[in-house]
Amino acid sequence: MPQGHLPKGEAKRPQSAYQSSGLSPTPPPTGEPATYGVYLTVKGLSAGRGGGRAFAGVDLAMAPGEAVILRGANGAGKTTLLRAIAGLTPPTEGAADLSDKDGAPLSPADTAAFAGHLDGLKPTLTARDNARFWARLYGRADADKAISAAFSALDIERLTDRPSGALSAGQRRRLGLCRVLIADRPLWLLDEPTASMDAASAKTVVGLIEAHSAKGGSALIATHDAINIKGARTVTMGATSMGAPA
């Protein structure tokens, strides 16, 4: 059952069978987006890229409807943590698990929408064609409806037929973030979502995150920008539970 705010580092739900080993397989993706109401449990997680260790012993628990702002100096491992939760970087120790309210494990592919610091746009394709690809990639049946809703939410409707290579950096960032709306996943993993955006666009993004939380979705946002999300908790990496590099 939902239990509101979980104390940081402790999840009070039954552990899933997948939790024991760091290299344990996540359940295979079903291709269907998971329903909202997803719990994230990060326990004793260590991970690194390219042979180095980005962080060690991270604990984090997130309940549905929660937004967490992830802060930390450059190199503290914010991006690697997001990638580990998204299922891209395998943990060296511990685990990052996603589960529904009954504790049944969920696959990151069906549950999480990950937006890295690159936008994943093909410059020769128009904004609409980029978005159509994402809608198919994430298995959206009502692609055109989802795309126009996402474009209007991020105020880029007038760019629909422009090749994405002809957009400004901020416009590309907004188009890139459309993917998260189109994906319609309960967990958003956003890496510097407001980078190169003007103040008004950044405010729009904050509004979207708040709306997502109100719907029962959760969002983990790594950022250096001074954004203010209503009801969001801030976690600083490299400060408390985060161990020094081994």
Binding site: R49, R83, L88, T89, A109, L118, T124, R136, G139
Partner: protein, 222 residues
């Protein structure tokens, strides 16, 4: 599954779009053939003798061209991460990328091969055996290439390294492809067994490329 088909459809579309590589590959294929023909000289009989080897070599060289961008383009713009997060296993992604490479590189070459055969004075009986060897043999080129590209894409000079890795692995397909094409043209009974060896090379690539390439992708993306 729909995610994989979406990737295939996008890659084929990008491949045939301006600057996507399909047109350049085809032009390169013809250029190689014309240069070979010029080097051999105007003697129709000697051209005829080297038609099948030249066609196969040109197809093989053309296959190299777009290999290095197969994963690298997606890696650089960030879409590889997005795709990887949605792909059930990386081996399948290698298969899809190989399929996209085949459709945008090998398929146009196969369609154009009869015209190239004309340039090389390929005997009339040689066309069907040549097309059969290309259709059955080129999947190995795309599969091996995609597997190697999955290992090398984060590197700066990935193109050169991929070519060096892949070149020796292309040898069986080249040898059996040319042998079968030549045997078929003269009605030699060796046609069938060599064609089967060519198929075996493609099937072996179908099994090994996703395994090796999938491991490479996992390593490079983690």
């Amino acid at each position: 599954m729909s995610a994989l088909l979406a990737i295939l459809a996008r890659d084929v579309r990008l491949g045939f779009a301006a600057g996507g590589g399909a047109a350049q590959t085809l032009i390169f294929f013809f250029l190689t053939i014309v240069l070979f023909a010029l080097a051999v000289g105007p003697d129709a009989a000697s051209l005829k003798a080297v038609a099948a080897p030249i066609l196969w070599t040109a197809a093989l060289l053309a296959a190299f061209l777009s290999l290095d961008r197969l994963f690298q383009a997606d890696f650089e713009d960030g879409s590889l991460e997005i795709i990887a997060q949605r792909t059930p296993t990386f081996g399948l992604l290698v298969l899809i990328k190989a399929a996209a490479h085949w459709l945008t590189t090998a398929a146009p070459l196969i369609v154009a091969a009869p015209i190239a055969g004309l340039l090389l004075n390929l005997p009339g009986e040689g066309y069907w055996p040549l097309l059969a060897t290309l259709i059955l043999g080129t999947p190995a080129l795309s599969l091996i290439g995609a597997g190697a590209a999955a290992l090398t894409f984060p590197l700066r000079r990935a193109g050169v390294l991929t070519t060096i890795l892949v070149g020796p692995l292309y040898a069986p397909s080249l040898i059996f492809g040319v042998m079968a094409a030549e045997a078929g043209a003269v009605g030699d009974p060796l046609f069938q067994p060599t064609l089967l060896f060519l198929c075996a090379a493609s099937l072996l690539a179908l099994i090994t490329a996703p395994l090796a390439g999938g491991a490479g992708l996992r390593l490079n993306l983690s």
